[in-house]
Each structure stands twice: as structure tokens, then as C-alpha cells.
């Protein structure tokens, strides 16, 4: 299921998560130097992530754009878990799950933590 672009998106996302601060395209290129990627390729990947809502783009020093993840990796995992446990309204048929393992209070806490963001 992982095509090349998907795999690059994932790699770029990992770089952004590791840095923990907004970074410019060239820094991502440098971090992924072992893949020998063109600057424009990395920019395309980052802009795709912006379009999908995973990454925020902000103006930095000079004319460069800086990129930062919208949410942490843990938050995304937590959201998937909520989906999987069908705890959010109209999502009941989105996924078929084996069994639920989260207690109601725990799920409530998780749900609230995500809402407060």
C-alpha cells in the first residue's frame, strides 16, 4: 500500500516530528540526504502534507517557508484508536473491530484531551 510518494510523506513527517520546531525545506532535504532527493520533490511532499492537513506552513526568516506538524504522532495514534473504538458519533460503521478494550472513563478522557486542542 505504500507507494513512493506515501513513503516520502511518512519520512518527511518523521523529520518534522523529530525536530519539534518549524523547519525549512532545505533542512528536510538535508535530513533525508541519504535518499538524494531534489529540493522540489521535498517541497512537493511537504505541500501535499499541508493540503492533507497534517502540516502547518508559516513564513519564516527571509522568503523561506517553515513547516511544522499540526499534531504529535501520539495524538494521531490516539485519534485512530478513537476511530477504531467507534466512540465518535457517525463513525459507527467506519471500521469493523474485534473487541473494545478501552473503558468508558478512559475513552472519555482521551476524547476530551483531543477536544481541548
Amino acid at each position: 500500500m505504500v507507494n513512493r510518494l506515501g513513503e516520502l510523506e511518512r519520512a518527511a513527517m518523521d523529520v518534522l516530528w523529530d525536530r519539534g520546531e518549524p523547519v525549512a525545506v532545505r533542512e528536510v532535504v538535508r535530513a533525508l540526504s541519504d535518499r538524494d532527493l531534489a529540493y522540489t520533490t521535498v517541497m512537493t511532499v511537504l505541500n501535499r502534507l499541508v493540503k492533507k492537513g497534517f502540516v502547518r506552513r508559516e513564513a519564516g526568516e527571509g522568503r523561506a517557508w517553515y513547516y511544522a506538524p499540526v499534531a504529535s504522532r501520539e495524538e494521531y495514534v490516539a485519534r485512530l484508536m478513537l476511530d477504531a473504538l467507534s466512540l465518535t458519533g457517525d463513525r459507527e460503521t467506519a471500521l469493523a473491530h474485534f473487541a473494545q478494550s478501552m473503558s468508558a472513563p478512559e475513552a472519555e478522557a482521551l476524547s476530551q484531551a483531543l477536544d481541548e486542542r
Binding site: E9, L80, D90, A96
Partner: protein, 298 residues
Amino acid sequence: MNAALHLVATLALCTVVAGPLAGARWVWRAPRTGILLWQMLGLTWVMSVVGLLLALGLAPYDAPIPVALGRWVADAVRGDVTPLAVLVVLGLLSALDLLIGLLWTWWSVLRVRRRHRDVLALVARRDDAAPGALVLDHPHVVAYCVPSARSVVVLSSGALTALTKDQLDAVLGHEHAHGRERHDLVLLPFSALCAVLPKVRLVRSVAQAVALLVEMRADESASLRHGAVPLAAALRRFSAVRPPEGALGAVALGAADIAVEARLDRLAGLPPLPPVLRWSVLVAGLVLVSTPASFLVF
């Protein structure tokens, strides 16, 4: 009037049968037959409601519904409308409502799923311990299937540590059965009915009964390949991690707990329904569904 009487009868029969069938244990012994029966009952019910409204509204034409509907439209265009038109319009609107409900439910499910897949692509990983599945690093014990033409099975790392190899295979078998047999499409019309008629408790309990049968069908498929014992053990493992909810006072057993109990019961050795009975059920369902269908088509 003949059509209306028949439709009232099928409507009444469906409604009367639905309650007891939703609580019946014998369908657990043949989950696939049970699912088919519910699909036929649901279709009969919907066609009967729409058909009954049309039959009553079109009664003055004294003709089969499709013919009468054609004449009614022609008359209505000419401005020749009787008070009974209210029923015809109501019938057409309810058909439209159900169709829109179905499309809307489908679309919103597809949207959630697409987003889910996008996120999975970023944070899930492959693991040799669970070939063919994606793994999410999270301590909770969770396994699920994201259904589509190319369904994906997802496990939490918590599930990987909590389950033995046999149990894991059984769980993966269960999830792959969901994906292979597109159980999401089975559930879809029933969820749509719930969305269209949110206040009707019977509709909700029917949807829950179908959801349980779908789980049981996946259990059946998994236990044929991997054995009922590891599957039951995995199921117990999944529900056992759920901490007691005593802190909030006496909480009634949730629907999910009841479903797990029922599935364990079934795995513990409910014998499959004999073929004669299975076929009788299916034939009865076909007879039922053909009644409203014949009035709406011919």
C-alpha cells in the same frame, strides 16, 4: 385495495417478527443465514412502507402500482390532483429519504475511512510478528479492519504483547474475514435506517443484532481456520483488559459486553443449524421479500 392489504400484512409481519428475532439465539447457529434473513426482512419492510403509501394513494386508479403511478403523474401534470395525492407524495418522499440516508451514511463513512487511511500511512508500521497487518504503537489491546476494495487490518502493539501466536492468528483471521466479505457493506443499510429513523428503538436493536451476527460470521470464518479455542481466548483477553467500571457506580453491562458474552457462548459450542432449517429460513425470507416486490414491479 388488494395490494394495500397484502402490504399491511407483510409490514405487520416484519414488525412483529423483528423484535423476537433480534433477541433469538438460534440465528447465532447460522450467522450467514441470519444476516441474509435480516437483509430480506429489512428490504421487505422498506418496500412495504413505501408500497403501502403508494397503494393507498393510488387506490382510485384500481390498477397495478407502476401503471397507476404513471397515470397519477400524468394527471398531476394536468393539475388534476385529489387529496389522496398526499399519500403518494409521502410514499415517494420516504423512498427518497431512505435513498438519501443510504448515500449520506455511505459518504460519511468513506470520508472517515479515507482520513483514517491517510493517518495510518504516516504512523503505522509493519511488524514481522503480524504479517499482512499494520501495527500502531499503543498500549490498548485493539484490532480492527479498515474495509475497502483493499481492506487493511490494524493491530495495536498492546494486542501484539497480550496475545499468543495462535490467538493472534485467530484475531487476524477474524479481521480478514470482515474485510474479505465486506461486512461494512452489510452493516451500511442498517446504519442508514438508524440515521433516517433515529428515535425508533426497534431499528436500533435490529442494527445491533445484525452487527452481532457479522461478528459471529467473522468468528465462524476464523475458527474454521484457526480453531475456536484460541479465538475465544483472544476474545476473553480483549475484554478482560477492560478495567472494572465500579468507580462510576453500578454500570449496566454495555452492548459491547453483551456481544462478547454472546460470541463466547457461541464459540463454546453452539451446534450449527441443520441445512434443512437454514434453507427453510431462506425460502421464507424470499417469499416475504417477493410480496412487496411483486406489487412495486408488476
